[in-house]
Amino acid sequence: MNAGSKNASGADLAPEVLRVQGLTVSVRTETGDRSLVEDLSFTLRRGETLAIAGESGSGKSITALAIMGLLPPPAVRVTAGSIHLGDSDLTRLPEAQLRSLRGSRIAMIFQEPMTSLNPVLSIGTQLTESIRAHTSVSRTEARTMALAALQAVRLSQPEQRLNQYPHELSGGMRQRVMIAMALALRPEVLIADEPTTALDVTVQREVLDLLRDLQREFGTAIILITHDMGVVAEMADRVIAMKTGRAEEEGSTAQIFAQPKMPYTQDLLAAVPRMGKGKPRAETGTDTIARLQDVVVRFPLKGGLLGRATAQVHAVEHVSFEIRRGETFALVGESGCGKSTIAKAMVGLVPHQGTIEIAGQSLASLDTAGRKALRRRIQIVFQDPMAALNPRMTVGQLIAEPLLIHGLCTAAEQRARAADLMQRVGLTTDQLDRYPHEFSGGQRQRICIARALALQPDLIIADESVSALDVSVQARVLELLQILQREFGIAFLFISHDMAVVENISDRVAVMFLGQIVETGSRAQIFGNPQHPYTRRLIEAVPVPDPTCIRTASPRLSGEVASPVHPFGKGPKRLVLVDIGSGHLVAASP
């Protein structure tokens, strides 16, 4: 996305590398063929980035697989149209020739770098193998090329990395290795299928910057498949918005963002959480519903001959905060910072040290019956609704389950309550006898919310509850949460890595890093006047869904991530929080 390629006339001059015409992909079902992608056409020029944006199920990944010739046989296949890479039509090539094209002229990187790398082969072996599969170079030459590729993706200590295995690298480094592999042979086309969705925001930032730099260097044409309009705005020259297998709208990025023509594109853009768009929120009560004081959670790591604990994961270190009745308290941080562990400790799923008080009662002091009674005050909604719902129970049974466990009302009343709750969360009562797999992701999350509401709790913990959802669905679920909060006066502990969402819905925010809170305060304090460097980095890393926004280059980090694992008897330095005015606490900078 340099100045030249963003300029429309400059892009026109570049030669065409990929042309897709009338592409239709169908899946064979019992009831006949059903099309997954219908009549899709586009061209891709050298050095250009084309974003295919859309919600899950819109056919964007199927398009990518069709171009790679990797559609799952035999049910899914191309039924019409052509895909021209240079002069050859990929839909007509035999598998052997396709195989020689893959990796050399056209490459792909996937969402989850851990599963796309073979865990039992070293990085070097995997890189040299993919190089030697396409070129007749010697092993040493291939190794030299592999080293060059790792240097190109700016991995620190590339020589050592060649001998390392995937599990020794962090998520961001693994994705860099995937990019190195994909670009080692300088393909003309790189397909990136949600390349940063599984990564933390700050890592996402680095990977996107890297992709852009490499594109400028090698002139690779990129097809970027994503649901994140922020990423689209930052990376793409042109955008295709896809819905249920069809291209709804196509145009230059600037044009799509400035004047989207189709309602679908407008909705897609409107649903994107933006910084600074949060509505002012009503005053909340002052009485405390949950109080955490010096909470510590550590997990022993077993090792050695006798399986004794030799080190500890310091997941949560001396965390203290309060949640007031009716407010939304957000806990933000990147994966592994301990935010979910706090949630689990609060509902008693992991043991903790320190004090956790819910409605004035300390968790540690309660007996079994007391703990069961406390469940009625605090509920949790997990990230993945499909995993959190027992697939063998109907939705009606699932929602009534808490009522049944606590013996709250008769079977008929339970069903009536379940029906009522279904309506509250925007589902219909005739869906009560269906099973979770018959619902969409957003609907399933609504079911989880309904189940959490059944006991009329004072506090609901939402642990990344909207992260797995499409943006438009996410927006509607967030709206539902706010309506329910107003109606029932529920407090939310909102755990998220997404600063934009947090900015939109929270009253107070705590930022966590490696098990400790580095900054906490009201929303205005955190977002208006971020003091800790980590908070600033998180806020700056959020992709801005506005192509006209010019981003100042952020300093690149050298890759190593600090670890929360410490040998016994040692631990991280405890941060001291300093009040810099009206409850805005900041850790003293190291």
Partner: protein, 294 residues
């Protein structure tokens, strides 16, 4: 990618009704019914008492008679009618296959689910005991047990159950440990559900496919284990027939009178197949996510 394909139109009500929609399951049920009927009505169906040695049941040379004439399945080396012995043998084999195997499944499931859910020292003790049982030769153990108790059909069933629960326990243990880590179990705990409810209402239903597979596999192995015990003299005592001991009694005549081994062998295979077909269908029928798929 997978949008729910509408299946509302064809959703039969009960599990039995759905089971009966599957041809293979119905075939399996019929086979089981035939064996059951044969076992129950053996006195009416059999043309001879199972232990009667017929004078004309052997050739002049003293060899068993091939199938045909008065003996539809031929006779064995003592001139006993094989058809009658197969019918009476079905009683023994069904009891062993269903009772012994069922008991083994029950023990295995209980041990596996308890060890898998609680882990810790309970799990360690239970699983080390299971490993010990696995390492100990099952046959030797069965012989010891059978020698201690005086052999009768029910004791034999119990002995077989006591040696064959270990594999089930191992598999159920592994599955339970992974199920217990799933989010919906965590969700259930945060709702305040008790241990019993989680184990039997939320974990057990997910183990049904495994239990069914091990149960159907176990039918043939337990029937054959009983035969081995009979052969060694600690199983069902002769002259009471069982499919297994018919094979063992006659295996030396395999060359000259193959039907004596083939017929009871085929009976065991058919019984195992029948349970397998029904079990397979039952597994699908009980899984709501499979509903609507033929």
């Amino acid at each position: 990618m997978t949008s729910a394909i509408g299946v509302d139109a064809a959703r039969p009500k009960g599990a039995l009704a759905r089971l009966l929609q599957r041809k293979l399951a119905v075939f399996g049920l019929i086979l089981i019914a035939v064996v059951l009927a044969g076992a129950v009505f053996a006195p009416l169906l059999a043309s001879f008492p199972p232990d009667m040695q017929n004078f004309d049941g052997l050739t002049i040379q003293g060899a068993p008679m091939p199938p045909g004439g008065a003996y539809p399945m031929g006779t064995d080396l003592l001139g006993r009618d094989l058809f009658s012995r197969i019918l009476y043998g079905a009683r023994t084999s069904l009891i062993i296959g269903v009772v012994a195997n069922g008991l083994a499944l029950l023990i295995g499931t209980l041990v596996g689910i308890t060890a898998g859910y609680f882990r810790g020292w309970i799990g360690a003790v239970l699983m080390r005991f299971t490993d010990l049982m696995m390492a100990f030769p099952a046959l030797l153990l069965a012989i010891c047990l059978a020698a201690i108790f005086s052999p009768s059909l029910w004791i034999v069933a119990l002995v077989i159950a006591l040696v064959s629960w270990v594999q089930t326990a191992r598999v159920i243990y592994t599955e339970t440990t992974s199920l217990a880590e799933r989010d919906f179990i965590a969700a259930e705990r945060t709702l305040g559900a008790g241990t019993g409810r989680i184990l039997f209402r939320h974990i057990l239903p997910h183990l049904i496919p495994t239990i069914i597979v091990w149960g159907t596999l176990g039918i043939s192995t337990t029937v054959l284990l009983e035969a081995t015990l009979s052969f060694l003299g600690v199983g069902v005592q002769p002259p009471t027939p069982s499919w297994g001991n018919i094979i063992f009694e006659n295996q030396t005549y395999f060359q000259s009178a193959p039907w004596l081994v083939f017929i009871p062998g085929a009976a065991i295979i058919l019984l195992a197949l029948a349970f397998n077909l029904v079990g397979d269908a039952l597994r699908d029928v009980l899984d709501p996510t499979q509903r609507g798929r033929a």
